[in-house]
Amino acid sequence: MSKDNKAYWKRNLKYLFGLLTIWFIVSFILGIVLADSLNSIKIGGFPLGFWFAQQGSIYVFVVLIFIYMRLMNRLDHEFEVDEI
């Protein structure tokens, strides 16, 4: 692997790590592990933990994929590995 490709892959892994951390926090931490304690906070009629588990996490998932798309397109361009 050339040096550039290595750097490209490293950055890719860094992005993945960051995005998947958010993915893990909204679903497993806020939606499951902390759900009971978050339920004491209410937003409108929604207990917060319940809302994260059944609504919030899904919204975040969608946003995550589009952010990833953005980041990677820019990265591809920067390293000139994008498709012509």
């Binding site: 692997m1 490709n5 490209y8 892959w9 890719n12 993945l16 995005l19 998947l20 993915w23 679903s27 497993f28 939606g31 499951i32 592990v33 759900a35 009971d36 339920n39 937003i43 409108g44 009629g45 929604f46 207990p47 319940f50 809302w51 588990a53 059944q54 609504q55 996490s57 899904i58 919204y59 998932f61 969608v62 995550l64 994929i65 589009f66 990833y68 798309m69 990677m72 397109n73 591809d76 000139e80 590995v81 994008d82 498709e83 012509i84």
Partner: protein, 581 residues
């Protein structure tokens, strides 16, 4: 017009539309149509992926199962959408770059071995069969209600339709049919949701509506929690599953989603790696519309159901109640002979005393969870055409997924197994014959399980995800992210993963080793780590990964051309043209 007439009209129109598109796309799948673009537009592909993947389980069963599980139903919501994030970030772009047609192709090439290919084929078949069985049940539920026949006949009719449809649609051009199916199913899902949301909480957006207030000023969720406690159930917004099981099921569904062969295949169709990323984003966006509305429908349906039937006179119940009784999916047994429906949690010991004081002698109403979405518009007294629309939507969901799955089943057998391995001299015609034959066998096996389901549609489908999580997911991920992973590691990982997963299902879901299905409930206390069969995919997956890593480090490294292959996959530039199917 009656519901049945409307159903025939709307289902008839949508079917004509699908068949028309299939014929049109087939006729134009010649060079001039596709080669210029080199594949399918990513947004269109996203829509097709959404239809492919949102099955009868998502459409018919999920909201129903959530309405009975309350908070715990989140495992399906988070599991099936969160898996998309894994798919988009960890698999789709790389598999697109790799550019082969099937998942066994990837496994076979990456692990330079036909044994690996065969193992992958077997895993693909197990996953797809389990999944398609769930679809057949869903189709059966729809037909049995709207043709007013028992569920078994409903499944048989469904088998006929799916078989006809798969033979016709299991060819090129399936993408555009699925786009139409997405439109039908999302429209059919959202219309009643919006109606009911306006009716109950005066908010046209169901996603916000179920956190809204009723006409008397109380929050809908508070009211439902109150109703639940009054009838001995636990609060709707509180979980009853142990946390470890919640986590395990969610993770198994997530990784399973990412490992589903018929979904992965979709990403081979877009023109570029960049488009594969985009396509996954749009697919999840389209899926999220349904997935965020489902928990709202669950709350509406649950509240409506309880207020409509609880402690009401049987003779005065609305018509839908009797209609569903005919299917056998709803049953009332007047245990205390007072002519009223007592629906409560008779398994709750703390509640027994209250029930006895009221003269109740056990829960008198049994409801199949799979009917909730279909019955919901009837319970809310929506117009007949809406009810018919929901039937058409359910069929669209089931058919699009069944077609995608049967395609995987038939290509796995005819292409990956027969042509690539056992009978390399197969002509195209013979290959097609075998593809059709395996689709036919697939429909029959699926139909059998549709008639004798081991659980509710969503739960059966959950098992398929467990199988996918325990077999493919690690093999593909390691194939991309671990250059040192070799044939020996991947094969032993997949074999061990899917074996322990299957044994766990057989033992704890079917009670095979302990005297049949009756024993299943008593075995719950001996679940490993307190994890249910639905969640065991997570544990099997870890076992798979550890086995693969250990074995690969003890055996020779993969040849240098494989390392080059992996490096090639990681860089977007130079991807081959998209495949249209």
């Amino acid at each position: 017009m009656g519901v049945q007439t409307w159903t025939f009209i709307i289902v008839g129109i949508t079917f004509a539309l699908y068949i028309g598109i299939a014929l049109w796309a087939r006729a134009s799948t010649t060079k001039e149509f596709y080669v210029a673009g080199g594949g399918v537009n990513p947004i269109v592909n996203g829509m097709a992926t959404a239809a492919d993947w949102m099955s009868a389980a998502s459409f018919i069963s999920m909201a129903g199962i959530i309405s009975f599980m309350g908070y715990d139903g989140a495992v399906y919501l988070m599991g099936w959408t969160g898996g998309y994030v894994l798919l988009a970030l960890l698999l789709a772009p790389y598999l697109r770059k790799f550019g082969k047609f099937t998942v066994p192709d990837f496994i076979g090439d990456r692990y330079y071995s036909n044994t690996a290919r065969t193992v992958a084929v077997i895993c693909a078949l197990m996953v797809s069969f389990t999944y398609v069985a769930g679809q057949m049940r869903g189709v059966g539920v729809v037909f049995s209600r709207f043709l007013e026949v028992p569920i078994t006949q409903g499944v048989l009719i469904g088998m006929g339709v799916v078989f006809f449809y798969a033979v016709l649609g299991g060819m090129k051009g399936i993408t555009y049919t699925q786009v139409a199916q997405y439109c039908v199913l999302i429209f059919a899902f959202m219309v009643p949701a919006i109606f009911i949301s306006i009716q109950m909480v005066n908010n046209p957006i169901p996603q916000l509506g179920f956190g809204g207030t009723l006409s008397d000023g109380t929050y809908l969720l508070d009211k439902l929690n109150g109703l639940h406690i009054e009838l001995g159930f636990s609060e709707y917004t509180q979980g009853t599953k142990p946390m470890i099981d919640m986590i395990a099921i969610t993770a198994a569904l997530m990784c399973g989603t990412a490992g589903l062969p018929h979904v992965i295949v979709r990403f081979f169709t877009v023109p570029k790696v960049r488009d594969a990323r985009k396509s996954a984003g749009y697919a999840l966006l389209f899926i999220a519309i349904l997935y965020t509305a489902a928990p709202a429908i669950a709350v509406f349906a649950r509240t409506n159901l309880i207020t409509t039937v609880s402690n009401q006179k049987y003779s005065e119940l609305p018509e839908w109640f009797n209609n569903w009784e005919t299917t056998g999916l709803l049953a009332f047994e007047d245990k205390n002979g007072d002519g009223r429906v007592q629906y409560y949690n008779d398994k709750n010991e703390a509640y027994t005393e209250i029930a006895e004081q009221r003269g109740w002698k056990g829960n008198e109403l049994t409801i199949d969870r799979d009917i909730m979405v279909l019955a919901n518009p009837e319970i809310a007294r929506l117009p007949n055409w809406v009810i018919a629309l929901v039937a058409a939507g359910g069929l669209a969901a089931a058919l699009s997924t069944a077609a995608g799955l049967l395609l995987v089943i038939s290509t796995s057998i005819s292409h990956d197994l027969l042509k690539k391995q056992i009978l390399p001299g197969l002509t195209d015609r013979q290959e097609l014959f075998w593809a059709r034959a395996s689709a036919a066998v697939g429909v029959c096996i699926a139909g059998y399980f549709g008639i004798h389901p081991p659980g509710f549609v969503a739960a059966v489908v959950a098992l398929a995800f467990g199988l996918a999580a325990s077999s493919f997911f690690p093999a593909i991920i390691l194939g991309i992210f671990d250059k040192r992973m070799n044939m020996q590691g991947a094969i032993s990982g997949m074999v061990i993963g899917i074996s322990i997963m299957s044994l766990y299902i057989l033992k704890f879901k079917f009670g095979v080793f302990d005297g049949g299905k009756e024993a299943v409930e008593s075995l719950q206390s001996s679940w490993w780590f307190g994890v249910s069969p639905e969640g065991f995919g997570t544990i099997a997956m870890f076992v798979n990964v550890i086995t693969a890593l250990v074995v690969s480090r003890l055996t020779p490294a993969p040849p240098s051309e494989i390392r080059e292959l992996v490096e090639m996959i990681r860089i977007p530039r130079g991807a081959a043209k998209g495949i249209v199917h």
